[in-house]
Amino acid sequence: MPSNLPSNLTGDLTSDGSWFDRLVDRLPQTGLMKFVAARILVPYWAWRYPVEKQPGGPPFSIQPGDNVQRMMNLVMPLKDKSAVGRAIAALAIAQNVDDIYAGLDNVGTVHFARFVIVDNNICMLSVYDGDFTNYIRDFIATIGSVFDAVVGLVEGGDDVIPSERNIEKFIDWVHAHDMYQVPDLATGILRDQEALKGDTADTGNDDLRLLPRDLILQLNVNTNVSLGSGYRAYPGYSAAQVRRQFGIGW
């Protein structure tokens, strides 16, 4: 019986089992077992079955409706992890508010953008239409200086600014800081892992018993993730479709 199933499930299935079965079923809930799993089992698994870090952002789809209102979740560790560093980051945004509004308007494919600071990471969260690289490139062309002001405060950011002179590197860097979006379908994560290995053919061999392990190993390397690709309360429309519908110009 896999020890990582919830105990209420395993408990029901094995209620007639021996005292040993009951002990094993209770193990995942024990402090000792949690310690062993986190400190020994997962590192061993990660060494034995290395898993590559998944790229960030939503998968590009061939269904047009899937390619609008897509989520970007950048998590960028601040260089200065103090209240002063956080304040400087807050000011960098505040000082550029006018440019940010102008950029959102001119890029044309953004629904909204948010900046938050979480645990010394400055996070840029936005909803955009179409291809990620086009979105970032158009943003650089429109308000690259704002990107530079933020990215300059982030670990490793100095290597990719000014963005206007490092377009390709900058886009790759931003992509690397975008959260992996864990697929909703259980087998989606297996497909993503295959794709990363360059294996595009569906093997049809989904060993679902290994799914919990694969998920743990993936989250061991992708520590910040988005669960799913965002959930909409209505079908997807582009920002320009919304603006046109309300007669506010696009």
């Binding site: 061939i62 047009p64 044309g108 086009n134 062309a141 390709e168 360059g198």
Partner: protein, 464 residues
Amino acid sequence: MFKPADVQGNILRGYRKPRVRYLMLEVADRAAARRWLAACTSGRDGVPQITTEEPWITKPVTCFNIALTYEGLRALGASQRSLDTFPTEFKEGMGQRAVKLGDVGPSAPDSWPAPFDEPKRIHLIATIYADESAQLDSVQQQALAGNSGFSLLGKRDGFNFNDNYVHFGYHDNISQPKFAEIHDVESLSDAQPVAPLGTVLLGYETNFEGLLFKVPEPEPLGLNGSFNAFRVLQQDVAGFEAYLTTAATYLLAHPKVDELLPPGAEAKIGEGLSRHAALREVVAASFCGRWRNGVPLALSPDTAHPSPEVDPTDFDFVGDSRCPYGAHIRRSNPRGGQIVQRVANHSRRLVRRGMPYGPAYYPEKPDGEERGLLGNFIGANLGAQFEAMSCDWTNLGLQDPRITGSNDPLIGANDPATSWFDIPLKSGATIRLRELPRFVQTRGGAYTFLPSLAAIRYLGALTN
């Protein structure tokens, strides 16, 4: 400083030769392949000489050019440090970018025939341009004689079977970016701005104000180079013609058909055409944005034979242009027209050089032959130009909210279950056509780097 003799001749302008052959080659012997590269810059040792951009007095009988894949650069021994300076999409290769490019279903790289089924083995694509088939054979023989260092994986021949007309019956090769360094821009009629060299060549100002694309390192390898998306695009001519017939039948019964084509206006479309046949041509023109003879709808929405004649390139998509928003030429290049991505007007332009392959199709004698286009989509940045155009504009239609959610009617990844296309009427209303099948399937291709002459010498001189 722009030096024409350092730039391969097939980038900034076309040779206008009727025949082309692509040789897909694998490096079999690195040292010999390097000697071959060193020799082809001057044409010594019997190796065909690379045709450059240097002006000629008499046009060469044949022209010869080369392109390298990322795997090719690696096979020739370019250092990892240098390889790392190439852009991600080039490193990954066309197959890895399939979904972005709409290469799905029967167009997916998994179903590409040899040699494109083993993309990592394609290292160099040599291109021969000539007037006659025999000349193609003789240059190929010359190129691969003795120990060239390359083994031939496959070849593809193209032939302009009807001057500048391509399968589907359109006049092609009409509009290309023009460069101040190459063309006599004073006498150009094209309404579009002259393109900066950085549109296609690495190391120059681009159409994106203030933005420079990365020149791969070291400089002799990257400068004056360019990138190319080489595509083998199969065209379903029978399917295309059948759809025109179906659409014309649907339009004939449509309540607004008289607004689309006033009774008696059939002769303006073509001499002796029935109403049904004229409507077929209206649909074909709407799909492309040009009548099949090349006359743009933007200048002549009601007739394929305007009098006086109109210039094929002197137009823009502004004001009340009656070219459909979703027409192929407007989607691929919205010129100065209003688009969602305001910084992107003119910035995704690229050079297109294509030639048909396979025999001409005669509707009265249907056959099962494969035919299509061998296309080259050349630009300084595959991501910013070819891919940007393919994934947001050709498919998806993000540039205009009136077409968002639809794909290019001619080359898009259409599925009859969801596809649609709007034909505009004078009143501003539209007639929507549905159930467009996919007319063009991808059968192969590669992302390649078109090295400068200095770069070819650099690679030829490597010793590791």
